[in-house]
Symmetry: C2
Subunit: 252 residues, 2 copies
């Protein structure tokens, strides 16, 4: 889940898609690569103090299996938390060997057989944390907020994706774009949505995630919107999006 | 204008406060430190292709006076644009001499006598671009979105501010907090606002910026909301906020 534009719904989409997929019986791991630890918070996984976290995996070669936690009351859903230590990782990684491939190696060493999905939530930048995610994955999912600035940084993101594919990860594809915070009352939202669909065609999910207060309230209860308010427009949209992604995965 | 949480209104606040201050006869410069160049876009200042930009000032020692442009139809308002080249600056700055103080030196060499305000729009990270802004300035303004994740990263930001004050810029103070995207219909917004006020007291502006579609539409016309829709709740709130900031500045 990457997009260097801030506040577009990377964390919200990671958390709610993961929850929706796990409610369909899938086994899902969310890796929190954002030093702010928003995904860890939303999934009620401890990430303050001496908690073993993704920083120790990337910089300290600790096995991923030692930091993965079960998400309370959500069977089949796991989270690898991020603590504040991760804030120093971008600078510390610059001088390490194989700095771009540390997450890939950690996932390869992890007994991931029992998992159906791994979702990686990235910070709003194109630094070494996001590069580690792009090297570790086969599919990139880009959440795009239906607001004017949304299209401005896309070119930069796609150029970086091409660079990673050319030099570090030939399997990397942009598989999915999700339109988020769509506010049907504004012309701006439909203009942005139309523009994205005309550029990216079928890569864009049919399901559009509406702006919904219940979505933004859920993290304050340490829950995904899927369990906080399953009947809300936001929860139903994320359930549809999860189903669409699962069908696409099955078709590959 | 700094906050590593993405999408909280850093750019929107920089642009609209700058416009409001210039409409009161103040001479204002906006420095765009975000490689996405959203502030440059909102102010209709060219920032694609070979435009001289902030990257050349930070990494190439080009004088700031050579890149500053007038904002069309807004007398007294100027912008130092950011192009995509700035995306490489964080890594390139790591190995340069006086890497944290490059912006401060550029502003010191700039004939800023005629300016009343310089507003620096930062990217959503705590890397060397934001550090350059914190070293170059006396006053830090933090926009805080009235949403749950807003409080999560504040501790990290304030710790970094303390580090900069201790080692690089003893004059740095957190002077102003602006509450943004306040949606009166939700309990969450008032809960976050109350929490911020109880933590930070008078540092928080009395003026709260409401969520207003007209604010998010303005950049698609290359305007601030101040000229796009002066009667909107968003424009009036930014006008009040500018007045409050000007009174505070006069009182110092
Ligand atoms: N569909 C939605 N409806 C309403 N609010 C939403 C929706 N999706 C996300 N939000 C809210 O918008 C804000 C930004 O979302 P989020 O934090 O997920 O974005 P992000 O891209 O992860 O941000 P960052 O760039 O800081 O990592 C959050 O406060 C979130 O609760
Ligand atoms: N008061 C408001 N009402 C409605 N929409 C707003 C308001 N303020 C900002 N927005 C919209 O919210 C989005 C995020 O705002 P903005 O881009 O200014 O945040 P930012 O902190 O600069 O983001 P980044 O972290 O990417 O730099 C934009 O699409 C903007 O138009
Ligand atoms: Mg996030
Ligand atoms: Mg911005």
């Amino acid at each position: 889940m990457a997009n260097q534009k801030g506040g577009v719904g990377k964390t919200t989409t990671s958390v709610n898609l993961a929850a929706a997929l796990s409610m369909h019986g899938q086994r899902v791991l969310v890796i929190d690569l954002d030093p702010q630890g928003n995904a860890s918070t939303a999934l009620s996984v401890e990430h303050r103090g001496d908690v073993p976290d993704v920083y120790q995996v990337l910089v300290g070669d600790r096995p991923l299996s030692e930091i993965v936690k079960e998400v309370p009351e959500m069977p089949g859903l796991y989270c690898a938390p991020a603590t504040i230590d991760l804030a120093g990782a971008e600078i510390e990684l610059v001088s390490l060997v194989a700095r771009e491939a540390r997450l890939r190696r950690a996932i390869a060493a992890f007994d991931a057989i029992e998992l159906d999905y791994i979702l990686i939530d990235c910070p709003p930048s194109l630094g070494l944390l996001t590069v580690n995610a792009l090297v570790a994955t086969r599919e990139l999912l880009i959440p795009i907020q239906c607001e004017y600035y949304a299209l401005e940084g896309l070119g930069q993101l796609l150029r970086n994706v091409d660079l990673v594919r050319a030099h570090l990860n030939p399997d990397l594809i942009l598989s999915t774009i999700v339109l988020t915070m769509y506010d049907g009352r504004t012309r701006l939202a439909s203009q942005v949505a139309d523009e994205v669909r005309s550029h990216f065609g079928d890569t864009v999910l049919n399901t559009v995630i509406p702006r919904s207060v219940r979505v933004s309230e859920a993290p304050s209860y340490g829950q995904s919107v899927m369990t906080y308010d399953p009947g809300s427009s936001g929860a139903m949209a994320y359930m549809d999006a999860a189903r669409e992604i699962a069908y696409r995965a099955a078709a590959i």
